[in-house]
Amino acid sequence: MRLWLLPVASGALFIALWYGVRVYSGLQSWILPTPLEIMEAAWRERTRLLMAAGNTALGALAGFLLAGSLGFLTSLLLGASQSLRASLYPWLLVLQMTPVIVLTPIIVLWAGPGLPGIITVTWLISYFPIVANMTQGLLSTDLNLVALFRMGNASRLQEILLLRVPSAMPYYLAGLRIAATLAPIGAIFGEYMVGNSAGGTGGLGFLVYSYNTQIKIPALFATALTSCLLGFIFVAAVALLNWAVLHKWHDSFERHDH
């Protein structure tokens, strides 16, 4: 049996169960719409959903890129000096431990409602996994290779650029992978919290708010589906980047003989 058939089969089974529950429980469409009703709603609302998805993608992408670049630079600082690490890392943890939901009103107050606030929330939620992973990577450099660089009288800059950063790439990409799943969530959450005042062009988070107050439950499910697709695109993009950077040399892409 082909391996890809398994998720297809389990998915089909799940949809059949869904219909079964709907038929035998006697639940109303506005409590549990069928997959077909959701697809119909998605088609009806396609323009709004696509516009909203585009807006959310913009916020998520900007926040993600900000987290990716700032996370990279922060890790370089943290990796460079132990005293810097000791001074900053605990506070980064504190920032990470604080639920974003608590910070959101403050973010709106500072960054302003709309896109700037949404980008800030997205950045905040996807920044830490990148820093944690990349810093770990910079500190995990093979000691034999460090000795080799020292024997070669390498400068500090050469050691960082030619040795530490490349050897930390698998860690950085692992951090980006986590961030990619978090960025759309952060953007949607940000829109839900701060996007209301952004005017007519809200994102998916705004649609959730709007459909919910109008009790358009199938459309709400359709929004969930759209968000899911958006998340998938983010993760797929990072998976592609991961492949592009690592496949030639990293052991995780080693082909095995069966």
Binding site: N144, M151, N153, Q158, L162, P166, S167, K248, H250
Partner: protein, 257 residues
């Protein structure tokens, strides 16, 4: 015959890591230009530490060490170190790995490419220049490591159990290649190994070391001339020398630390 020029001098050298036990105790050593000195002994006798002191990777505690007329660190540009592990950067091709030592010295790209190519051809790897380390066998990786060291044209080559992880056949081949390379671009060698046969085949001097604390137990001169070929291993005098060194090793290993 010209008088040999001493290039490494240890005078009453003692080494301990921090406040730990004494790793090397009162070592005196002179290595002359053209020597191939091998250090052999039980684990913990400090044979790798000797190389670390010469390379300046680790400081000595008391006594004095001079290398090529300078303190070890200042002589780094005239020596090269071959580690037990091939220490290749996994994200670089064979060619780029072979260029690394020259790149760290900021040699212009075209020049270092040519130099690395030449050395890779010398160790028989010109066909795998675009391969990544994970595509190479253990023996090939070690050849890249040797090529990289030789791009520097070092006066002194330090080798810390470079062939320890290889099968015997590959090891024998690489021993012969190492001597052939040395005939082409002469370097003085300080070599660490666990293999008596390897030590006898390669060296003109073998230092047998004892552990607890690490010290020199005996020195054996190996006066077969160079070049040496694989047939040497079959000669009775080779076996006699192997037995002599093995006996000395037994002496130091029987003494409890």
């Amino acid at each position: 015959m010209e008088t040999p020029e001493p290039i490494v001098n240890f005078h009453s050298v003692t080494k301990r890591y921090g406040s730990g036990p004494v790793v090397l105790d009162n070592i005196d050593l002179t290595v002359c230009r053209g020597d191939f000195v091998t250090f052999i002994g039980p684990s913990g006798c400090g044979k790798s530490t000797v190389l670390k002191l010469v390379s300046g990777l680790s400081p000595w505690t008391t006594g004095s060490v001079s290398v090529l007329g300078a303190v070890p660190r200042a002589a780094r540009d005239r020596q090269a170190f071959i580690f037990q592990d091939a220490t290749l950067l996994p994200w670089l091709t064979t060619q780029k790995n072979a260029e690394l030592a020259l790149r760290l010295r900021r040699m212009p790209a075209a020049e270092r490419t040519a130099k690395a190519r030449e050395m890779l051809a010398l160790v028989g790897l010109d066909r795998v220049r675009e391969y990544y380390p994970r595509q190479l066998s253990g023996g090939m990786k070690m050849r890249v490591s040797i090529a990289r060291a030789l791009t520097l044209a070092p006066q002194l080559l330090l080798l810390d159990e470079p062939f320890g992880a290889l099968d015997e056949m590959t090891r024998n081949h690489l021993n012969e290649e190492l001597l052939a390379l040395r005939a082409q671009s002469p370097f003085t060698a300080m070599f660490v190994t666990h293999s008596v046969a390897e030590a006898v085949f390669l060296s003109n001097r073998i230092v047998v070391m004892a552990a607890g604390p690490g010290r020199f137990h005996a020195e054996v001169a190996v006066d077969f001339g160079y070049p040496r070929r694989s047939v040497l291993r079959e000669r009775p005098e080779f076996q006699t020398k192997v037995n002599e060194v093995s006996r000395l090793l037994h002496q130091v290993e029987e003494v409890p630390a």
